[in-house]
Amino acid sequence: MKTTKTLTLQKSTFTLLSLFFALFFFSSIAQAQEITVKGIVKGNVETEIEPLMEASVYLKGTNFATTTNKKGEFTFPKKLKKGDILVFSYLGYIKKQIKISEKSTFITVVLKEESIEMLGALNSNKRYKSKRPKQ
């Protein structure tokens, strides 16, 4: 009789303890809030908006980075926390920084084209040749 009692007691302590641990465990997760960030990066050229392939996405101040796939999609390889800043860049587009919040599980980023005039003059080492000036 006595033995069964201790057994039930042990059982209940066990459940209590495990419950306690489980609570502790979940609450710690809640505190750190690790967020898996997925998203899509698009580029805005004139009036068209299309996905940007191989745009780079990196965590500001670190070397953690990834690039977008053919459809412009990415999944950031590191779990992020609230307040982290993701930087989105693609040559020829204005960089964009996005602050991560609990809701940032899927983000759509549209990068705007940088306004630059595209110019190019070829270097030459050819000897100059005068056209005879008109007299």
Binding site: V45, E46, E54, S56, Y58, N63, A65, T67, S89, Y90, L91, G92, E113, I116, E117, M118, L119, G120, A121, L122, N123, S124, N125, K126, R127, Y128, K129, S130, R132, P133
Partner: protein, 336 residues
């Protein structure tokens, strides 16, 4: 008073030697080695490339050097893109809407090519340099304007055709041209050859101006004495080698001259490094013939003076050579 004079003299001397010589005490070989050994198939991860190039270097100028050397040894000049762009820009010269549309489309093509194939034209070089500098924390801006080479005429120069950079190091602005540092294109033969030219790395503003006319005057770094566009067009033609050998081209200020027979004409230059004076020569060309003449050469410290007396009437192109390297061209009409 005497001491004051010496001090003033020293200050003047110091001011005279600016630009790359500001960093004479720095040995670039470490930066150059890092840049020359680092390879990357494409530019997808610019942060990684930039940090690999710069994280073992201490000073901003060394970091800048590594980026500059890497770009100029890895990014090829795409003359096909260049000529396509040139054609379209000329055609849409007076139609700003079409020009803008073309520019936008072209930008897209261009940056894709730069990312994947590491080929571009001027603006791509300047943009890449600016971006990589920004990653490192160095301020650089792109400068648009007229770039001048021996093959261009006045019409080519009338609108902006070239992009280069200003970079701020130790709180001072410097000029550089990553495109022209990279090498030379031979469009007729359909090839581009990498041939690094240090002459366009942190170049003296005065000599840089001979073939770089910025759209905004202050970008010349010559303010308030920036020559105007007409003065720019009338300047002599300088070649790439002029930038590795000369720190200034003092006289003549113009390309075209009319002189009298038996008149002596003086050319003055400041040298950046020592040269073999015996190799200095003038080659005179006109539509039918070519002849080589030795001018009267004198050297005082780094100041080189050449003198020539014109004996024959006629119209000549006068090319200044040191050995096989062409430095500058002037034109002379010799009259009675």
């Amino acid at each position: 008073m005497h001491k004051f004079g010496v001090l003033l003299f020293l200050i003047v001397i110091y001011k005279g030697f600016s630009q790359e010589s500001d960093f004479k005490h720095i040995n670039f070989s470490r930066a150059d080695n890092i840049a020359k050994t680092y390879k990357s198939k494409n530019l997808n991860d610019l942060n990684k490339i930039t940090s690999a190039l710069t994280n073992r270097l201490d000073t901003d100028v060394e970091k800048f050097r590594a980026i500059y050397i890497w770009i100029t040894h890895n990014i090829a000049n795409d003359f096909r893109l260049y000529s396509k762009n040139n054609r379209k820009r000329k055609r849409f010269k007076n139609d700003s809407i079409k020009l803008e549309k073309w520019n936008s489309r072209f930008k897209n093509i261009l940056f894709k090519k730069l990312l994947k194939r590491k080929r571009t034209i001027c603006t791509g070089y300047a943009y890449l340099l600016k971006e990589m500098c920004a990653i490192t924390g160095i301020k650089s801006i792109m400068v648009n304007g007229s770039g001048r080479t021996s093959t261009m005429d006045e019409e080519d120069l009338a609108y902006a055709n070239h992009t280069w950079n200003l970079v701020k190091l130790n709180n001072k602005w410097y000029l550089c041209d990553p495109t022209w540092s990279t090498g030379i294109s031979y469009p007729e033969e359909g090839k581009f050859i990498f041939n690094y030219d240090n002459g366009y790395f942190l170049t003296e503003p005065k000599i840089f101006f001979f073939n770089h006319f910025p759209l905004s005057k202050e970008h010349s770094l010559l303010a308030p004495n920036t020559p105007n566009f007409n003065e720019f067009v009338e300047m002599p033609v300088l070649y790439a080698k002029a930038y590795t050998i000369l720190s200034d081209h003092i006289n003549p200020k113009k390309m075209y001259h009319e002189v009298h027979k038996n008149q002596e004409f003086t050319f003055e230059y400041l040298l950046k490094k020592s040269i073999n004076l015996r190799k200095v020569k003038f080659i005179f060309t006109n539509s039918v013939s070519e002849r080589t003449v030795k001018p009267l050469v004198s050297l005082d410290k780094n100041s080189l003076t050449l003198k020539h007396t014109f004996k024959k009437r006629g119209f000549y192109d006068l090319h200044f050579y040191i050995g096989d390297d062409i430095i500058a061209t002037y034109t002379f009409k010799v009259v009675k």
